[in-house]
């Protein structure tokens, strides 16, 4: 699914980033690239989302969110925590 559709409170793994070069570089600098876990925290006014990557929080608009494909996994870690 696209990151724009990830419900608030849910985490997912980034699968692909379709953005063009300039935006993609910026996204990568902030840690958004395939294989990374992102958490959708809440919806923002204007249709964007606030997303957590690592310890950083980013506000992205619909256009940017639409370029990011994510997948929700059920993963068990050692502590029994699911993603």
């Amino acid at each position: 699914m696209r990151l724009v559709d990830l419900p608030s409170g849910q985490s997912a793994v980034v699968v692909d980033v379709h953005a063009e070069a300039a935006l993609r570089t910026r996204l990568v600098e902030f840690g958004i690239r395939p294989g990374v876990v992102v958490m959708s925290r809440q919806r923002c006014s204007g249709g964007g989302r606030m997303v957590q990557v690592g310890n950083a929080r980013l506000a992205l608009d619909r256009a940017a969110l639409n370029t990011i494909d994510v997948e929700v996994h059920q993963v068990e870690t050692d502590k029994g925590v699911t993603l």
Partner: protein
């Protein structure tokens, strides 16, 4: 010969306190330096990397202990093959260091080996051992190392320790964000060591990367600025690559953001905050302004008059120049200080607290309509308080063209000085409907901003970057008072320097023109306003406003001084009608009567239409001199002149339209 150079010419062997021997030719020995904070497991890793042949000894010429050994698995061939001897790979275990700015001889050695050396003297590869539980501290060294021409590999140790402490490190993200290869190692259990060795050997064949820095002029920065830069980088890298291993819990910032970024409540909250800033500025600044005004126009002026009388220069031109020119000018300048100061303070607080970033998010969509990012909302809202700091506030925008567009739009925001005039005029002509009329003027102001914005976007300022919204939201924090005051003072000082001279000069010029007689035979300084140069100018200008219904010289005179400051409109009216200024804005008194008479006359009976046209013209025709000074500083003289031109044309066209259409209706 450099220390490292000398080392290259030595054969390794188990000796202590050896003195280096020279003379052996360069055998192609490559040096791998191990660096890192103390207690990160460096020595353990060194042991794993070097196998049997290693030694510990003093570095030549120092008392610092250094380990030295051959990289495991890379002994030279017993014989030399067709390709010559295989290069030996020497590993140096340097003492623990927190920074390349040395606090001890130990750290000085590390620094010595990597800073300020020729390429052939540098280690071929630097392996930085960073420990995951103390990633920030470890990465500071990396921040310094990347500024040098070195091949760097990061060996990340104790990853499991960090994970059980609740901090997961994403190796790939770390590598990408930091711009170096990262190899996780567990030296005690020998995990990752082989990978590390292979990576080292591979890396030896790659070209040396050029120094990487966040900004280009590292040498000209103060030590504090350099620290800021390095730590901002480290902080960012650590932030994006560390993941809490437990389910991320909402922080205090997150809980605030639930409200601040919410779809409906968010923008409302922002408007409320801006309204609060606006209110704070007017209510706190207004009494200060009155006070300063009375001080300048009253106390200081009286004092000056008395002094001049004393030294026999009383009356006449000199007194006029000093009191009505210089003192009045400086006094006017000072009255800006409370407004500017409070506005800057509020802006600094918004910025520092982190709330500004949220404001940019919530206003983004609205601003996109005129091709501006959400941040542009801020200077425009500030403009409704006072145009002068609004121009400076345009600096929050990262792009020069966006700053230009905003600077051109600020003059159309109706500032509080204009409000003063509106209230007087509205109560004079519209009585109880005054409040509504004033509110309508604010709507007109917004329409102007949007309209001119669209116009400019379609013509003069095309191709604005259409940044997708992507804002890093910092944690909320309580603003630090000292930082706020510093920021405020710097900006205030900038304003005083820019606008100060211009305001004083303009006031003096107006005084001069008003004092200079043209006809009627009066003396300089003793002349009736209408008979002065200023009066003649105003009368000459008045016919321009005929299509808009207010072609009276008193009003054009007032508009001319409105160029200096909008508050001056009222005082000039009073001056030209030779009445006293109204004691309060809502009781126009005699001045009101005179105005009513004249407007009635010039508008041919369509008074309301003419009054509205006048107010619209006042709204848009030109900002005050202080704003123009700010514009000149931000966007340059040519654009400022263009801006004024556009102001005048737009204001005139709309004012005429209002009058013509209004006359038809009333």
């Amino acid at each position: 010969m450099s220390l490292l150079g000398r080392l290259r010419h030595t054969s390794t062997g188990p000796t202590c306190h050896e003195d280096v021997s020279t003379a052996a030719p360069d055998t192609g020995q490559r040096v791998i330096a191990l660096v890192g904070n103390p207690n990160v497991g460096k020595s353990t890793l060194f042991n794993s990397l070097t196998g049997a042949k290693r030694s510990i000894g003093n570095w030549p010429g120092t008392t610092v202990e250094v380990g030295q050994g051959r990289l495991a698995g890379h002994a030279p061939e017993k014989s030399t093959g067709p390709l010559g001897s295989i290069p030996e790979l020497t590993v140096l275990d340097l003492p623990g260091a927190y920074s390349l700015d040395p606090n001890s001889p130990d750290e000085a050695l590390t620094r010595d080996l990597v800073v300020g050396r020729e390429t052939h003297e540098l280690p071929d590869v630097v392996v930085l051992i960073a420990d995951a539980p103390n990633l920030t501290r470890s990465l500071y060294l990396l921040a310094q190392l990347r500024e040098l021409p070195l091949r760097i590999i990061v060996a990340l140790s104790m990853v499991d320790l960090a994970t059980s402490a609740g901090i997961g490190v994403d190796i790939d993200v770390l590598a990408e964000a930091a711009g170096v290869i990262v190899v996780p190692v567990d030296a005690r259990r020998r995990h990752g060591v082989d990978d590390l060795i292979k990576t080292i050997v591979d890396e030896l064949d790659t070209p040396v990367p050029s120094p990487r820095r966040e900004s280009d002029h590292l040498e000209q920065m103060t030590p504090l600025e350099v620290l800021d830069e390095r730590f901002a980088w480290v902080s960012r890298v650590v932030d994006v690559s560390t993941v809490p291993t437990a389910q991320p819990r909402p922080t205090f910032s997150d809980r605030l953001d639930r409200v601040a970024l919410a779809p409906v409540v968010g923008p409302l909250l922002f408007l409320a905050v801006m309204w609060g800033v606006f209110q704070l500025t007017t209510t706190v600044a207004a009494p200060m302004q009155d006070g300063l005004d009375r001080f300048a126009a009253g106390t200081v002026s009286d004092l000056a008059v008395n002094l001049l009388d004393l030294i026999g220069l009383g009356g006449g031109v000199i007194e006029g120049f000093i009191v009505d020119g210089l003192i009045a000018g400086v006094g006017m300048l000072l009255t800006f200080v409370p407004v500017m100061g409070i506005m800057f303070l509020c802006l600094a607080a918004l910025e520092n607290s982190g709330y500004l970033a949220r404001g940019a998010v919530v206003t983004d969509r609205m601003m996109r309509l005129i091709g501006l990012p959400g941040r542009a909302f801020l200077p425009l809202v500030v403009g409704f308080g006072c145009n002068v700091p609004a121009i400076s506030a345009a600096r929050v925008l990262p792009d020069a063209r966006q700053r230009l567009l905003v600077s051109l739009l600020v003059p159309y925001t109706s500032c509080s000085a204009r409000l003063a005039v509106y209230v007087l005029v509205a109560t004079t002509f519209f009585g109880s409907a005054a409040g509504t009329v004033v509110f309508v003027m604010y709507l007109v102001s917004i329409l102007f901003v949007i309209g001119i914005g669209l116009l400019l976007k379609a013509t003069a300022i095309r191709a604005l970057p259409d940044d997708p919204l992507f804002i890093d939201l910092p944690r909320y924090q309580a603003p630090l008072p000292k930082m706020l005051f510093d920021l405020t003072w710097v900006r205030l000082r900038g304003f005083l320097r820019t606008a100060g001279g211009i305001i004083v000069v303009t006031v003096i010029a107006v005084w001069f023109l008003t004092a200079m007689p043209v006809r009627g035979g009066g003396d300089f300084g003793e002349v009736d306003p209408r008979d002065s140069v200023y009066g003649e100018l105003s009368a000459g200008l008045a016919p321009v406003f005929a299509p808009a219904g207010f072609d009276d010289w008193h009003t054009s005179a007032a508009l001319i001084t409105g160029f200096v400051a909008k508050e001056a409109v009222i005082s000039t009216w009073a001056q030209t009608y030779s009445t006293a200024e109204p004691t309060s804005e809502s009781e126009p008194g005699i001045l009101g009567e005179r105005l009513r008479d004249d407007f009635e006359r010039t508008s041919g009976g369509h008074t309301s239409a003419a009054v509205l046209a006048f107010m619209v013209f006042l709204l848009a025709y030109t900002p005050c001199v202080a704003t123009l000074a700010g514009q000149k500083r931000e966007i340059g003289l040519r654009w400022t002149m263009g801006s004024v031109g556009l102001n005048l044309v737009a204001a005139w066209i709309v004012a005429v339209a209002v009058f013509q259409i209004g006359s038809l209706i009333t």
